[in-house]
């Protein structure tokens, strides 16, 4: 199934060098979890601070069991803030 994987701010360094922008379209196996994707791209766990799936926050404790659905949009930020 296809999902979108987005890494923002300093985490964009973990995306492939030849990518354009912050978004990748990935083909993943059914049952893939948010934590699987974070590991696959070597994003340090403590840097994956704000994790959203379709805009909804996934707390750290749920990432290991949150299974992705087709067309899900996963977006991750390190600790950031604004105003």
């Amino acid at each position: 199934m296809k999902v979108a994987f987005k890494l923002f701010a300093s985490l964009s360094d973990y995306l492939p060098a030849d990518r354009k922008g912050n978004r990748l379209e990935l083909e993943v196996e059914e049952g893939t979890t948010v934590a699987d994707l974070i590991r696959r791209y070597n994003v340090p766990e403590r840097s994956a601070h704000l994790v959203l799936v379709n805009g909804v926050f996934i707390p750290p404790s749920e990432r290991i069991r949150h299974r992705l659905q087709p067309s899900d949009e996963v977006a991750i930020w390190p600790p950031i803030a604004g105003g």
């Binding site: 923002f8 701010a9 922008g21 805009g55 977006a75 950031i80 604004g82 105003g83």
Partner: protein
């Protein structure tokens, strides 16, 4: 002692400058800056005064930590009755001006009356005098600062001034210092313009003396700086990406107000984001972002300094805009961009530069353009009336309208009234995305419920900086709460409002609160200031300031009916994103908020509450 204990009172009508002692009883009760200046203002003016009349006063004030070793201790506040809202106006700015006022030996300047001709105030330590500003009138903030420095032959003079917007009494005119820092909201620059006061120029060489317990202060400020440095947000996130990093976050969450809040997600958010500012342009191979920047004493350095694409249509014939300049920050990028559907980041930087150059709040300006574009889309306004085709997404319209608004040319004069007056004039008051006449900042309260209550009850009209529940609802600071529910939000909003009043009144930047709690500020204040500055007292001071502001607004004629949101946000559900189908639940939150505050169901502080707070 933290304070210089000295106030400068400037009677612009008579042309006199007079020194008077700071009311130290009030300093113990209201701390400084926002709180203390507001205490002076509410004690000296009629709440029903016309904000642009000579009877209104304007106060520039520092806090006890301004100019000290405390991180971010460079803030000062402009307090007055605001023309945009008719409510208390209190706008805070960084840069270097605030610290310089402290170094000159003053805590605050109170301006009263109206000068018969344009003047500027020059302060050199104890000496203060009004000087002729006829040659500065009609000049931008940038030209004014340069001219004053040249005349005084002193590049270290710090200047706060108004540009054309303040002179023309644009209702959302700012007071700009250090080229691109601003006391930005509520139209404080229009009040300054109405008084024929063009600028304040400062030179202070005395430093800050009289810290109550110097050893304890050095220890407390050093420890607090370590907290900022070790925190991933204030130590890394903000310096590298600035506030602009929120553009993609808030868009993903479906809370990015787009096209005058018709939508909650902007298809071009990525093009106007912090990440986009880091990317190299195809045209010249350069990134828009040049560097980050810090205000006085700041160890965070979130500021953005950028260079526009010299070939962009807005500046290709205007070399004066080609150099590095302030921006883009998140609020400006949103208001000039998503709010009116413009995804051209270079056009946003141009409009932002004009706002800085001519002293105009980019939030209220951009949001008012959003309303104009909606009226254009509906056929209520047309190109002949506006002076340019103005569909949503038009970078050309944005660039033209920012120039027209600052200079008061043509339809720009009407934009300068703000969205409330403009939408009322054209028969659609419901299209003004504002509270108490002040336009919303960059968070849609259908997707971040607590912000709806924070906006509705903000004492200076819609604002994110009075109670930034985004920190909790989005970023998990200090704890994560669900942005889509109303539960617990009244308590959360009150806690943020009261704590923010203390940060503002101390003379430090509220961005420290991404890493600090009041418990980190308390030892710094306790060491700097004489008297008891316990946590209990700070909590009480914050609540007292909030209630004092509320009492002023109530006396000015505001009622519970004004603690409201535009119908779009309470009746038109979000179309996309996590908040799809949701409206803001203000009606659920507001009665509970009044109870938590100790106010009557009509939003009036009860006698018990006032007695408890010594009001």
């Amino acid at each position: 002692m933290g304070w210089n204990r000295k106030v400068l009172r400037v009677d612009l009508t008579a042309g006199t400058c007079r020194e008077e002692p700071l009311n130290m009883k009030w300093a113990q009760d209201y701390l400084g800056s926002r709180g203390l200046a507001t205490k002076y203002l509410v004690s000296e003016i009629d709440p029903k005064v016309d904000p642009l009349s000579p009877e209104n006063k304007m106060i520039m004030s520092t806090g006890p930590l301004t100019g000290t070793m405390a991180s971010t201790g460079g803030r000062y506040t402009v307090v007055t009755k605001g023309p945009l809202t008719g409510a208390i106006a209190c706008s805070n700015s960084g840069g270097y001006f605030g610290a310089e006022l402290k170094f000159a030996g003053w805590d605050m300047i109170i301006f009263e009356g109206k000068s018969p001709k344009p003047v500027y105030l020059y302060i050199e330590n104890d000496k203060a005098e009004l000087r002729d500003a006829a040659h500065l009138w009609g000049r931008s903030c940038w030209e004014t600062e340069e001219t004053i420095k040249h005349e005084l032959q002193d590049p270290l003079v710090r200047v706060s001034s108004i540009g054309l917007a303040g002179e023309n009494e644009v209702m959302f005119a700012c007071v700009v210092n250090d080229l691109h820092r601003a006391a930005g909201r509520s139209g404080v620059g229009a009040v300054m313009g109405s008084k024929n006061l063009k600028a304040v120029a400062l030179r202070g060489t005395k430093g800050v003396s009289g810290i109550h317990d110097f050893k304890a202060f050095m220890k407390a400020t050093t420890e607090a700086k370590k907290v900022l440095a070790d925190n991933a947000v204030t130590g890394q996130g903000l310096p590298k990406f600035g506030t602009q990093v929120l553009m993609n976050v808030i868009n993903e969450m479906g809370a990015l107000p787009t096209r005058n809040h018709r939508d909650v997600q902007f298809e071009d958010a990525g093009k106007i984001s912090a990440e986009a500012m880091h990317e190299k342009r195809e045209s010249d191979g350069k990134a828009q972002l040049v560097t980050n920047a810090a205000c006085f004493g700041c160890t965070i350095a979130c500021g953005r300094i950028s260079e526009i694409d010299k070939g962009h249509f807005t500046v290709k014939n205007s070399p004066k805009y080609w150099g590095a300049s302030g921006g883009l920050e998140y609020e400006a990028a949103w208001a000039l961009g998503a709010a009116n559907g413009v995804g051209d980041i270079e056009a946003l930087q141009y409009a932002n530069m004009i706002c800085n150059e001519q002293g105009m709040d980019p939030i209220s300006f951009g949001a008012t353009v959003g309303a104009v574009m909606e009226l254009y889309d509906m056929g209520v306004l047309d190109a002949a009336k506006i002076g340019i085709d103005s569909p949503f997404g038009s970078a050309e319209a944005l660039a033209k309208l920012v120039e027209m608004t600052a200079s008061g040319e043509g339809f720009g004069k009407e934009i300068g009234l703000g969205s409330k007056r403009l939408c009322e004039k054209y028969g659609h008051p419901e299209l003004s995305m504002s509270v108490k006449g002040q336009e919303f900042p960059a968070y849609d309260s259908r997707g971040i419920q607590g912000m709806g209550l924070a906006y509705a009850t903000s004492n200076r009209g819609a604002c994110h900086l009075r109670g930034y529940t985004v920190a909790s609802e989005v970023l998990g600071i200090p704890v994560k709460t669900d942005p889509l529910t109303t539960e617990g939000k009244p308590e959360l909003v009150k806690a943020f409002q009261d704590a923010t009043a203390v940060f503002d009144s101390a003379g430090i930047c509220v961005f420290t609160s991404f890493a600090w709690t009041l418990a980190d500020v308390q030892p710094q204040l306790d060491a700097a200031c004489e008297g008891d500055w316990s946590m209990d007292k700070l909590n009480e001071v914050g609540e007292r300031i909030w209630n004092m502001e509320r009492e002023f607004n109530n006396a000015a004629g505001f009622t519970a009916k004004d603690d409201n949101l535009p119908p779009r946000l309470t009746t038109e559900p979000a179309k996309t994103g996590p908040a799809k189908g949701l409206v803001n639940g203000l009606a659920t939150m507001l009665p509970e908020y009044y109870k938590v505050r100790g106010w009557t169901p009509d939003g009036v502080p009860t006698a018990e509450t006032k007695a408890r707070l010594g009001l």
